[in-house]
């Protein structure tokens, strides 16, 4: 008997980072590390579950920028080079640690890990990981959903409805062009919701989206079933809420699983620990230390000398934590079933990059959770939100409250003293784009002008990514984030100016198209304001 539904959602997103104007570029490693540590291990989990015929449902949100990067030939070639370099370092490590058997065992593990990564990436999926996700979608186990075009924080772009509509529609179109079908669900970047966005989601054919707990708890009507049943926003688009309890077990620094002492320590990386001469070929410019991905220690405990990592102990802990997670859900369902008028659904969304990157054992934990949940005796059924909506058709009608899942729960992480200067510039560029398209609407447009207009639209979208203000606030890579925003706006200004003056330089335009090659089917007419 099913006591409750569990919907686990992984949101996979990275900003669009691709620099053909450089031989190599440090920030492209964000994608390469995520492929190695998160996406390929996740595919490994899905493949094993399929081989073992485990019945499960999981939801994966793929952002359009990530989709585009995973399909990009330049980045695919650069990833292969990166992966071969990791393998080379692991082999070198096996030799270096020959007198330290415990370390050498781990070095061998890393070599196996990179060899397997290469085999999955290159041989099994021919450098296109979307093939793997599509396969599992077709098998009926993985639900794939979409996200906004460049992960713009929609409530802060809402000065223009066209900006929101384009973030949504271009995101969905990119998803469809690459995956071959329209998504039922939509991941609002950072779960950032404002009342009214459901109208644009409905217009785009979206059935459901997610908000944080307080978005539902502060809805226009008190939610009868708390966060354990979704709300109908009034137009048939359904809002599901994040469950605080299941989130806490993964995110919390006090109670969260990833901080367990047996798990692999993220920060002790040989890129920082070994002699510079030795590690030089694998770090930045041969002298700037960066992570290499090879780490030999476990979390150990606060203020204690780090102890060597034991994969066996970590695996056992991942299983234990998975069992604990399932037990806690069972307890929740027992409690909820005494008060609810329907089968409860626990919605547990996480960043996909959490699993495998800083929580190295995250994919193992996820696999164990899905295997345990598949046992009928547990009374838990994993489900996607689409499945749930097929089973449950009547929903309480109420409008969620504006909210995000970020720090403080609202928009302040993306608009504050570190990054608020970007909004006048972003809004101005958006308004200029719309005015430009309005001004030319009755004119005949040449192919060169069309290309320039489409390129201008690409730069508007790339400047709108929520990642840039996020990075500025986190004060980690502010120079890069500022440069990306100002570069995209400068490129927009250049194109806007050359279109207005009718002096488009084909060479310059071609260069911009090569550098910002995202959204190949974009249509600038989508920026045409509706005449009221």
């Amino acid at each position: 008997m099913t006591h409750g539904f569990l919907s686990i959602i992984l949101h996979a997103h990275l900003p669009y980072v691709r620099h053909p104007e450089h031989e190599s570029f440090l920030e492209e490693n964000w994608l390469f590390e995520a492929i190695t540590e998160c996406y390929i291990p996740l595919i490994g989990v899905l493949d094993r579950l399929q081989d073992d015929k485990v019945p499960y449902r999981l939801t994966l949100s793929l952002s359009p920028t990530l989709i585009s990067m995973l399909r990009d030939e330049l980045l695919q070639a650069r990833y292969l080079k990166h992966c071969h370099q990791c393998l080379e370092l692991a082999e070198k490590e096996i030799i270096r640690t020959r007198k330290q058997p415990e370390f050498q065992k781990l070095a061998r593990l890393y070599r196996r890990f990179y060899k397997k990564t290469l085999a999955i990436y290159q041989d099994q999926y021919h450098c296109d990981l979307l093939i793997a996700f599509k396969k599992h979608h077709a098998a009926g186990t993985l639900e794939l959903i979409s996200c906004a075009a460049t992960h713009g924080l929609l409530p802060l772009l809402n000065i223009s409805e066209i900006a929101i509509r384009n973030q949504i529609n271009i995101g969905i179109k990119t998803f469809k062009d690459n995956l071959g079908f329209l998504p039922s669900g939509f991941w609002l970047p950072e779960c950032a919701y404002y009342p009214g966005i459901e109208l644009l989601l409905a217009e785009a054919g979206i059935n459901y989206f997610f908000v944080d707990s307080h978005g539902i708890m502060n809805a226009s009507q008190t939610p009868r079933n708390g966060v354990y049943a979704p709300l109908d926003c009034g137009n048939g688009v359904i809002a599901f809420a994040r469950d605080p309890e299941s989130s806490k077990q993964v995110w919390s620094s006090q109670e969260g699983y990833p901080g367990d002492h047996d798990y692999r320590e993220y920060y002790k990386d040989i890129g920082f620990d070994l002699d510079l001469d030795y590690i030089a070929p694998y770090i930045l410019d041969g002298d700037i230390r960066i992570n290499t991905g090879i780490k030999y220690y476990r979390v150990t405990g606060k203020d204690l000398p780090k102890e060597i990592y034991s994969p066996k102990k970590a695996r056992a802990k991942a299983l234990q934590h998975a069992q604990n997670f399932i037990n806690k859900r069972q307890q929740q369902f027992i409690n909820l079933n005494t008060t609810m008028d329907r089968t409860p659904i626990i919605v547990a969304p996480y960043d996909a990059e959490l699993f495998g990157h800083w929580w190295f054992e995250g994919p193992q934990w996820l696999e164990c959770v899905l295997r345990l949940a598949s046992q009928p005796s547990n009374g838990i059924k994993t489900i996607s939100c689409s499945d749930y909506l097929l089973q449950q058709s009547d929903h309480q009608v109420a409008t969620p409250s504006a909210s995000t899942w970020g720090d403080q729960g609202y928009f302040s992480y993306w608009i504050n003293e570190t990054n608020n200067w970007i909004y006048p510039l972003l809004h101005k560029a958006e308004a200029e784009m719309e005015q430009l398209v309005l001004d030319i609407k009755d004119l005949s447009i040449s192919s060169l002008q069309k290309r320039a207009l489409n390129q201008a639209a690409r730069n508007i979208l790339l400047a709108q990514a929520s990642d840039w203000p996020f990075i500025m606030k986190s004060e980690t890579s502010t120079d890069y984030a500022k440069k990306r925003i100002t570069d995209h706006l400068a490129r927009f200004n250049y194109l806007h100016d050359s279109i207005r003056k009718n002096n488009i330089d084909d060479r310059y335009l071609t260069a911009l198209e090569r550098m910002d090659n995202i959204f190949p089917t974009i249509n600038f007419w989508d920026y045409l304001p509706t005449v009221k």
Partner: protein
């Protein structure tokens, strides 16, 4: 068309240098944004409105008034909160004392007790805050920052600035 890596880089650098984004000041404009419960953010251009003091030593006070949606047609009623403006900085965080019934707000920028209104804003809807925010996304085990991007970037950028090889 063949373009080398160096040519791409040169074009990128030239455009970045020559077309830096700038705020335009041609028309008065006021924009209001929602940040958090009772927290708005406004930015504005004063343009060349006749009421805008152009001289630095002008002491005529500019103020920002925030109206709730219900009071939108009644500038002189008491249904507003007023905030003095720092002339040198065309943006401001606004913390309201009380929520209104509608939670929807609009602003105007004016002088002379708002007999002369320079610009009106769009409407901004503030979030409700009856339930405390569940704060776990920003809280993670043994790391100072929660997200993949933050951790990754901090590890990469201890020394490297822009990170261009």
């Amino acid at each position: 068309m063949k373009l080398t890596q160096i040519e791409l880089l040169e074009i990128s650098q030239e455009i970045s240098k020559s077309f830096m984004p700038k705020i335009s000041n041609d028309l008065p404009k006021l924009t209001l944004m929602s940040v958090a419960p009772l927290h708005l953010y406004a930015y504005w251009n004063l343009g060349s409105h006749k009421s805008v003091p152009q001289q630095k030593n002008n002491t005529q006070e500019l103020t920002l008034r925030i109206y709730s949606e219900a009071d939108k047609n009644n500038y002189l009623s008491k249904g507003y909160e007023e905030f003095p403006i720092n002339r040198t900085n065309p943006q401001q965080d606004i913390f309201l004392a009380m929520p209104s019934d509608t939670n929807s707000y609009r602003a105007s920028l004016g002088t002379d007790n708002h007999q002369d209104v320079i610009a009106d804003s769009n409407f901004a809807q503030l979030p409700l805050a009856q339930t405390p925010v569940f704060q776990l996304k920003a809280d993670s085990p043994s790391f100072t920052k929660p997200s993949y991007k933050e951790i990754k970037i901090s590890a990469y950028h201890n020394n490297s600035g822009l990170g261009i090889k």
